[in-house]
């Protein structure tokens, strides 16, 4: 069975076509990375997949369930970490997790055990009773990750999940994602960190200006762009036609900085 099927998804905001006829699949047990420059349409795609935005046309399905028709069921199956961090600032992680476990109807004992393991692994125990607003950026992100993993979802959807984790936690999270897939789980993540995509993901899809311009394993992308042994970074820049822009930008900056 496939975890995610997105077919001809279109979404525009006024004149701007944010997502333009995107189709992709994420298979079971696979880690799929969505790459693309800022404003490419990654988050918009993910939001439609979560049933948070209505698509103009096309469809998104999670394990065969249509996100637009049955978003609650989709959310039952998915662990989702959105891009922006709007947590309940005046709750503590303890209160937040109690809330989440109650909503999802999780068994108390099992979850307590699991929670202890998470906290230990992420070195988070000492923040468990501090108000979320006082947590650092990275610790907030950990809070969201734990919230998404708590019910052991079969599918993880992560929008920029590693952007402010420290080295240790980023490594642990990457390992968690790997373990998750080894047990048959699937992951869709969007990221700007090329190393993450390169080291972690089975397949990548590159979105630019709302269109899915390339898709495949790293090897496939290399052969398509005729760049033997290239890093994902240089492939990405080539495919999104930004190579020259980068060179120009660096030249201008160099001048500005050496004046």
């Amino acid at each position: 069975m496939v975890a995610i099927v997105i077919e001809n998804l279109v979404k525009s905001f006024g004149d701007l076509v944010a997502v333009n006829d995107v189709s992709l699949e994420v298979r079971e047990g696979e880690i799929y990375a969505l790459l693309g420059p800022n404003g490419a349409g990654k988050t918009t795609t993910i939001k439609m997949l979560m049933g948070l935005l209505d698509p103009d046309s096309g469809s998104a399905k999670v394990f065969g369930i249509d996100s637009n028709e049955n978003p609650v069921e989709v959310k039952n199956l998915v662990g989702y970490v959105p891009e922006e961090q709007q947590l309940y600032d005046s709750l503590t992680p303890r209160e937040l997790f109690n809330f989440i476990a109650s909503i999802r109807g999780l068994p108390e004992e099992k979850i307590t055990k699991r929670m202890k393991e998470f906290l230990k692994a992420l070195d988070f125990e000492q923040y468990y009773d501090n108000m979320i607003i006082t947590l650092s950026q990275g610790n907030k992100q950990k809070t969201m990750l734990i919230a998404a993993l708590l019910h052991r979802p079969k599918l993880l959807i992560l929008d920029e999940p590693f952007s402010s984790l420290d080295v240790r936690s980023a490594k642990i999270m990457k390992d968690i994602v790997k373990i998750h897939t080894e047990n048959g789980g699937s992951v869709l993540l969007s990221t700007h960190v090329m190393e993450v995509a390169e080291g972690l993901c089975d397949r990548v899809g590159i979105i630019d200006e709302g269109k899915l311009i390339e898709e495949g394993t790293l090897e496939e992308l290399r052969s398509k762009s005729e760049k033997e042994g290239a890093t994902l970074e240089s492939l990405f820049l080539k495919l999104t036609e930004q190579e020259e822009d980068v060179a120009k930008g660096v030249a201008i900056l160099r001048e500005a900085l050496t004046d």
């Binding site: 049933g51 978003p71 999780l106 906290l119 009773d129 919230a147």
Partner: protein
């Protein structure tokens, strides 16, 4: 850095602080600021304009009322006592106005961290303190300037220049001390609301503090009608304690200034001792004000540079995850959020607010025993408040969007939660109304049953208002709204609540006109309410979408 320069920079910082505090107050703004920054600055401008107009009106009202009472209301007591006490009452009230009107903003400032901006500039410590204090003053410039200008002008017109000068010094001291107190209390409140030791006591303190603040605000707004009584009460109390009591009073803030002013204006009547006491007191409190000014700058700097430590010390508690039913979990979460935010705590005070507003009204409407009509009007008021309470409860969710988005929560569950929460203040309002009805004895004891029968209407109002807001603002999906920036929703909620809640009241009224029997009328009220409850239970959720 020169003072004038500092003042100018403070203007820039104040602008930024206001902007940040505004965003902080409503995370929904954060999303909008990217899309439409103009709209935000416009909303911000209109908000600060409204609060200026509001402060002006309150301060003018207080000045006029106190001055009129002290100068012309001969019933209240001797002219010297009237001036002294009226003067002091004005100072107390303007203190309260400055204090309460700004408490939420100030607490917000500490959270938003916007005050940290100047500390990144290359300034000395002294300059930084001065800049911080001026920023603070500029943020609250409207009430500060107004309270220092309006009352002295009134004094100048009525009592002459010397009293006006004293009143100016008094008002300036008052402002300085009020701001000092404001900073201390905001700091304390910020700390208390952000500390999370789970003990019952601390949540009780939190709720009590928020309630106290809300009641403080309410009493300021409604004080106008009580003001002469307050002056009369203080004068009466002091007179009954004997002549010497005035001398003691003259030592106490802010009466010292009042007695000093009275001693100048009525030097022939006031005893020398009292004059001396007021002089000593005034000098002392002016000194305190100067110290407070100095300390506030320091304390602000400490806050902006060091932050307020809110982490709870002590042992780590055992990690357990406790679960309840989804509905209960939602309610618990909402109540926790409510007790940690002054603005949200407002919903607890709704019944009190209702009594404060309705009590004088009911007295005014009915001479003799209370009949059905004022009771119906009072109930309709409560319905209106019920709708507004619901929107306030919807505000809680402006916080946790990231968590909400990933959770399998059906829109009807959210609607049920919010409804369940507002049913409590609604029921309490009904009981409070019954007490008001008892104070103005009704013509028939049956009237006392009207509020009690009306209690289930809280459910109807919650469901219908919630569903309407979700339909209008979210196309049927549960949404969070913020009434402070989206007043249209507040008005809509009021209208829907009034319309839904009036049906049983109309039924009562029609039955009363037709039959004149209390029992039949109450039956009509109950029956129509039953039908509405059923509709709310089975039909209204169909409007929602997940």
């Amino acid at each position: 850095m020169k003072r004038s320069e500092s003042w100018r920079y403070a203007g820039v910082v104040a602008q930024e602080v206001r902007f940040k505090a505004f965003l902080e107050a409503n995370p929904a703004n954060l999303a909008r600021v990217k899309e439409n920054p103009d709209k935000i600055s416009k909303a911000l401008k209109s908000q600060s304009r409204i609060s200026v107009i509001f402060s002006t009106m309150i301060l003018i009202m207080l000045s006029v009322l106190t001055l009129a009472a002290s100068a012309f209301d001969t019933e209240l007591g001797n002219p010297d006592a009237r001036l002294a006490v009226g003067f002091a009452v004005y100072l107390i009230l303007s203190f309260v106005v400055i204090f309460f009107l700004n408490l939420t903003t100030t607490t917000g400032l500490f959270t938003s961290g916007a005050m940290r901006l100047p500390s990144t500039l290359p300034l000395t410590r002294v300059e930084l303190e001065q800049l911080n204090f001026m920023t603070f003053v500029r943020i609250f410039i409207a009430p500060v300037v107004l309270s220092m200008v309006i009352f002295p002008i009134g004094c100048l017109i009525i009592f002459g220049p010397v009293v006006a000068i004293i009143s100016f010094v008094a008002c300036a001291s008052n402002v300085s001390i009020a701001i000092g107190a404001l900073i201390i209390v905001s700091k304390w409140f910020h700390k208390k609301t952000h500390q999370t030791d789970e003990s019952r006591i601390s949540s009780i303190i939190r709720v009590a503090a928020s309630l106290g603040i809300v009641i403080g605000m309410i009493s300021v707004y409604s004080i106008g009608s009580y003001l002469p009584d307050l002056i009369r009460f203080i004068i009466g109390l002091s007179s009954s304690m004997g002549e010497g009591f005035f001398t003691i009073l003259a030592l106490i803030f802010p009466f010292s200034f009042g007695f000093l002013a009275a001693s100048i204006a009525f030097s022939s009547i006031i005893p020398f001792n009292t004059f001396l006491a007021s002089l000593v007191g005034s000098a002392f409190y002016s000194l305190v004000a100067i110290v407070s000014y100095k300390r506030s700058g320091e304390s602000l700097r400490a806050i902006t540079l060091g932050g307020i430590s809110t982490s709870s010390p002590g042992l780590l508690k055992e990690v357990v995850v406790e679960t309840t039913s989804p509905l209960q979990g939602m309610i618990r979460k909402d109540l926790k959020l409510a007790t940690r935010n002054i603005a949200s705590a407002f919903i607890f005070a709704i019944p009190i607010l209702l009594v404060v507003i309705l009590f004088p009204m009911i007295q005014f409407w009915s001479d003799g025993p209370m009949r059905s009509l004022p009771a119906l009007v009072a109930l309709e008021y409560a319905n209106l408040f019920g709708g507004i309470t619901l929107v306030s409860v919807l505000m809680f969710d402006t916080q946790g969007a990231s968590i909400h988005e990933g959770l399998p929560i059906r829109s009807r569950l959210i609607l049920k939660t919010k409804t369940a929460i507002i049913m409590v203040p609604y029921a309490l309002s009904m009981i409070a109304l019954d007490i008001v009805f008892l104070l103005q004895p009704p013509i028939s004891p049956w009237i006392l049953l009207m509020p009690l029968i009306q209690i289930p209407c809280g459910y109807v109002i919650g469901m219908s208002v919630g569903a309407t807001v979700f339909k209008v603002r979210g196309g049927g999906r549960a949404v969070a709204v913020n009434v402070t920036s989206d007043q249209a929703v507040g008005i809509l909620a009021g209208i829907v609540a009034a319309l839904a809640g009036i049906v049983p009241l109309v039924a009562y009224g029609l039955a009363m006109i037709a039959t004149g029997s209390y029992i039949i009328s109450l039956g009509a009220q109950g029956l129509s309410l039953l039908v509405m409850v059923l509709i709310a239970r089975f039909q209204v959720p169909k409007l929602l979408k997940d």
